[in-house]
């Protein structure tokens, strides 16, 4: 039968020639190959001294964005939790009180917002589902920890601090944003 890929090889069980049975030429050839590798560029990245370069749109740990005035964008609609294939997101919604307008952008907000980072698969579907541009994945890596319980990230670690805003513009390519609004 004719092969479809041209990649198949004809194998044979022929007897080895004397040269092959002596085995030494093959050994010398192999040792030459390993010797060449001594001078090759090393693949090691000396983490944590060096960091491997990551893409601008790397999907690392999440951030809950605030708007330009510093109010939380999340309105606890729960779409991210529904979209999450790993069921890592849970939240409790609350109503905004009078005088909290500077803290929360809309009348409803998430009083508890937790992501279980051990369940999370960093697929970015929460970000895609979010209608309020509130949750984003960032370039930052998830740090290791000794306790499983420490991997449940609450609002204390998810909401972006007002004094050091997280730049997510690279994950908001105009085409992506347009696409998102066109879908609605």
């Amino acid at each position: 039968m004719k092969s479809l890929t041209n990649r198949s090889l004809q194998v044979s069980n022929r007897k080895m020639t004397l040269m092959e049975r002596i085995y030494l030429p093959a050994i010398i050839g192999g040792m030459f190959i390993t010797f060449k590798h001594i001078f090759k560029k090393k693949a090691t990245v000396k983490w944590p001294d060096e960091e491997r370069s990551r893409s601008e749109v790397y999907r690392g740990r999440h951030v809950l964005k605030r708007d330009e005035k510093g109010a939380e964008r999340c309105t606890a609609c729960g779409l991210c939790a529904v979209a999450c294939p790993a069921e890592a997101i849970t939240m409790v919604s609350s109503e905004r009180k009078k005088g909290e307008e500077a803290l929360y952008r809309e009348e409803k907000y998430a009083s508890v917002y937790e992501i279980n980072m051990l369940r999370c698969i960093f697929c970015g579907l929460c970000e895609e589902a979010c209608p309020k541009e509130a949750i984003f994945l960032t370039k930052e890596l998830m740090p290791a920890n000794y306790e499983r319980s420490n991997f449940i990230y609450g609002k204390d670690r998810l909401v972006e601090p007002t004094d050091s805003r997280v730049d997510v513009s690279k994950r908001q390519e105009p085409a992506v944003v347009m696409n998102k609004y066109n879908d609605k």
Binding site: I27, G30, I33, T34, I38, K46
Partner: protein, 342 residues
Amino acid sequence: MSTLLIIKIVIILVVFGITLLIAMYSTYLERKVAAVMQDRIGPDRAGPWGLLQPLADAGKMFFKEDFIPKQSEKWLFIFGPGIAMFTACMTGAIIPWGGTVTMFGETFNLQIADIDIGILYIMGFVSIGVYGIMIGGWASNNKYSLYGAVRASSQMISYELAMGLAILAVVMTTGSLSLKDIVEAQKGGQWNVFYQPLAFLLFIVCAFAECNRAPFDMAECETELIGGYHTEYSSMKLGFFLFAEYINMFISSAVISVLFFGGYNFPFMYDLGLSANAITFIGVGVFFAKIIFFIFFFMWVRWTLPRFRYDQLMHLGWKSLIPLAILNLMITGGWQIFKDSF
């Protein structure tokens, strides 16, 4: 007389120290060689370039739990690594590390003991070394250990034959069993490897097998036998087994250099116009350079070749190496008769 005694004691201590030091840094070298051949960097955290790594490893070994299985033969279990380590250290005694030195009004050789059956002494101790592995593996009372031990002993016995026959060719051309005489006969670049290339090839293959090094590491064989004879060992007892292997490698490299590469001889050593002491000390340096090259060679082969299958090992030993060694012996003998009759 007492000066000579003190000098000998100093030589013994220095040789013992150097043996341990080189074995220690062989572990470091092994990891580095493995790393660079696989495009990695290797240990570099402990000290500059990771040079303190062997100390860290030894510290780890000492602080691990020293576990003796309940089902094992307790005393034999302890004796196993002891024998392995003891025999490994003993073989260094007759290696001629350097030529003659005149110092403190005494003229002496840089060698602990120049016994006239030197090479037999080494073969003898290497054979006893099998007992360490055999006893250790058997006393563990574990299938895998026993397998490893049986493999090790049958492998060593098979390869000792070819090794002995290969050495015999060298002994025949030199006419002496003393390592000192064998080295002296190779003065001035007259290295045995040029006259006995086949014997060298056979010897080095057998040396790999005797040291239980890849591609003949059937006794350990991580993938098949977990750890072979040292499966049940932990802490410094395991350390002794591993350390003995590295000492054996060092001694094998020394013996290869002595038998085939002129030991402490180097080309043009008498044309430089140096004093006898200076030549001796350069010779010691050259000898250690040769040894370190062969240690590197051992590692180079280990990280190049895959492990032999057990039947292939036996085929190679009995059907290829021994006939070749006998052939080599016959050719050497024939040449000797031919040479003497003219």
